[in-house]
């Protein structure tokens, strides 16, 4: 747990960070966001004392950061910056092993840990002898994360880590990081200026302006109830649409479906389930809706597959673009988990809107 107590930082006479009192929960990603100059990076860097606070205190697990020697404090906290922060003259192996090396781990233990980390970030071990410049931006950024995780710190500080990456690779890095965090449950403080990134990865978002914390809350709450005009503007006109990205379709999955073989289609007399998925050897040919069948239409439709983590917005867009009303949730490990109907999603959203306006 990281606690800020009346934390302030002055540069000359001007406050860069003003009187923060916050608690960051263990195992959560807390995102700090705001316009440039709002103090988010200064705040982050005070945690590992790259910047010394002027007033107040920071406590990590109830121990003040001033009770640590600053070098050993930094070695105990993972630190990730943009991919350019890799050491160009070190191989990937040496880059990752730098903190264990400083902590004087044995060679065998370092070897084991480095290999473990390469598996964790899903890059081949053959990369270990390469230099950073031989890797792509996205790969370098993964190495940056691995390097910060090397000594298995409880806390990770991330300063706009994906800021320099192109949008497509950025999205996949975000997905990668969210997945990683599910397994690792680190306490992460993450600075970004990208509100979409904040909403996507944050368990909590802290919105800062002029060194002050304007609102610190769960993304849903911030989107539903922005505290003031500034927050509303930061979230943008798409605020309500963004909220759709936070709702998971899995909450609205329906399970009254049946998988049948192609030759069984003609034999169906009575529909007990609402949806029949037609299987053809290893593939799925299409599906039949009970409603369609009862109305006597020619009713085998193409299946729109989505994965189990899909959110409302992407699902609705996908369905609208395909002209379908039903999406089937297919999970790589567990196969077909059920289906969702576009109407349910829209209704749920309307209901939420209605509750908010009253």
């Amino acid at each position: 747990m990281i606690e800020f107590i009346n934390l302030s930082k002055k540069f000359k006479e001007k406050y860069a960070v003003k009187n923060l009192n916050l608690t960051f929960n263990d195992g959560e990603i807390s995102v700090l966001i705001g316009p440039s100059g709002c103090g988010k990076t200064t705040t982050l860097k005070m945690i590992n004392r790259l910047i010394e606070p002027t007033e107040g205190n920071i406590k990590i697990n109830n121990k003040s950061i001033f009770d640590f020697d600053e070098i050993s404090l930094r070695r105990s906290i993972g630190y990730v910056i943009q991919e350019i922060g890799l050491f160009p003259h070190y191989t990937i192996y040496k880059n990752i092993s730098i903190v264990p090396e400083l902590l004087k781990w044995e060679k065998g233990k370092i070897d084991k840990r480095v290999n473990e980390l390469m598996d964790l970030i899903n890059l081949p071990r053959t990369y270990l002898n390469r230099c950073p410049k031989e890797l792509s931006g996205g790969e370098k950024q993964r190495i940056g994360v691995a390097r910060a995780l090397a000594s298995d710190p409880e806390i990770l500080l991330m300063d706009e880590p994906f800021g320099a990456i192109d949008p497509i690779n950025r999205k996949s890095l975000q997905d990668f990081f969210v997945e990683l965090q599910k397994a690792l449950k680190k306490t992460v403080i993450f600075v970004t200026h990208d509100i979409l990134e904040a909403i996507k990865i944050g368990d909590r978002i802290g919105i800062m302006k002029d060194g002050e914390m304007i609102q610190f809350d769960k993304p849903q709450e911030i989107l539903k109830r922005p505290k003031n005009k500034f927050v509303e503007e930061l979230l943008g006109v798409n605020r309500n649409i963004l909220r759709l990205t936070l709702n998971k379709v899995l909450d609205f999955v329906k399970k009254d479906f049946k998988i049948i073989n192609k030759d069984e289609v003609k034999e169906i007399k009575n529909f007990n389930d609402s949806l029949y998925i037609i299987k053809n050897e290893n593939n799925y040919d299409g599906f039949i809706l009970k409603k369609d069948f009862e109305k006597g239409r020619d009713c085998i439709r193409e299946i729109v597959f989505i994965n189990e983590n899909e959110n409302f917005l992407d699902t609705i867009i996908l369905l609208l673009s395909k002209g379908e009303k039903v999406a089937v949730i297919k999970c790589i490990e567990r196969g077909i988990m059920g289906y969702v109907e576009i109407n349910d999603l829209i209704r749920a959203f309307e209901k939420e809107e209605y509750e908010l306006s009253n």
């Binding site: 790259l50 070098i71 050993s72 630190y79 910056i81 943009q82 350019i84 922060g85 890799l86 400083l102």
Partner: protein, 207 residues
């Protein structure tokens, strides 16, 4: 060719003195040059560093013979003058290259090092110097090559280097002496250059 064979002993000893003068002036220039180069590249001294880099840039454009003449006015005839002027003249590229290649390192790299818990000397020796080694080496290379050539001028102020052959050759209009003197100096310079090319290539991998 006859000249070379007949005067082999003298030429050999002049070459030896030539190398000695070059090393005596360049080695301290390398040591102090790298040291000052590091100091000028420190964050807090950056404006001072820039100031000196500009001054050195101008100094470097003064012809070496003029430079030696100026130093001569202060310290007079003798090896002292030669060493001092070669030192001052050759320290310039070392400082210049050291500082500018240290300043070229992205802040993020240094900051990553700090954030990961490297202390000041670890950042300097594990991160900064290895990354900028190529630039530093090329400064040293330049300064050595310059000094090998400039050491010929030492003869003018009374220290007999290979410049003696050239100077006498010029006075008595002996083309063969001019060739011998010029070629030996050139061979020395090329030799140093080749060695440094090899060393620099070793560090090319990450650049």
């Amino acid at each position: 060719m006859n000249y070379l064979i007949n005067n082999f002993r003298e030429i050999l000893s002049l070459t030896f003195i030539h190398i000695l003068v070059t090393l005596l002036s360049t080695l301290p220039a390398i040591i102090f040059g790298v040291l000052f180069g590091i100091i000028f590249s420190r964050k807090k001294l950056i404006s001072l560093g820039n100031f000196f880099l500009n001054i050195f840039g101008i100094l470097q454009s003064i012809p070496s013979i003029a430079f030696i003449a100026i130093i001569f006015m202060y310290t007079g005839i003798g090896i002292k003058t030669v060493i001092i002027s070669l030192f001052v003249y050759s320290i310039v590229p070392v400082i210049y290259n050291t500082t500018s290649s240290l300043l070229l390192i992205p802040d993020e790299v240094i900051e990553a090092g700090k954030g990961m818990g490297l202390n000041r000397s670890q950042i300097l020796f594990k991160i900064e110097l290895p990354i900028s080694i190529r630039g530093i080496l090329s400064g040293i290379r330049t300064s050595l090559t310059i000094n090998i050539a400039t050491a010929t001028v030492a003869t003018v102020i009374g220290v007999d280097t290979l410049g003696k052959i050239i100077l006498i050759g010029l006075r008595v209009r002996r083309l063969d002496m001019l060739w011998v003197g010029g070629i030996i100096v050139a061979i020395l310079a090329i030799f140093v250059d080749l060695i440094f090319e090899k060393i620099e290539n070793l560090s090319l991998k990450w650049a």
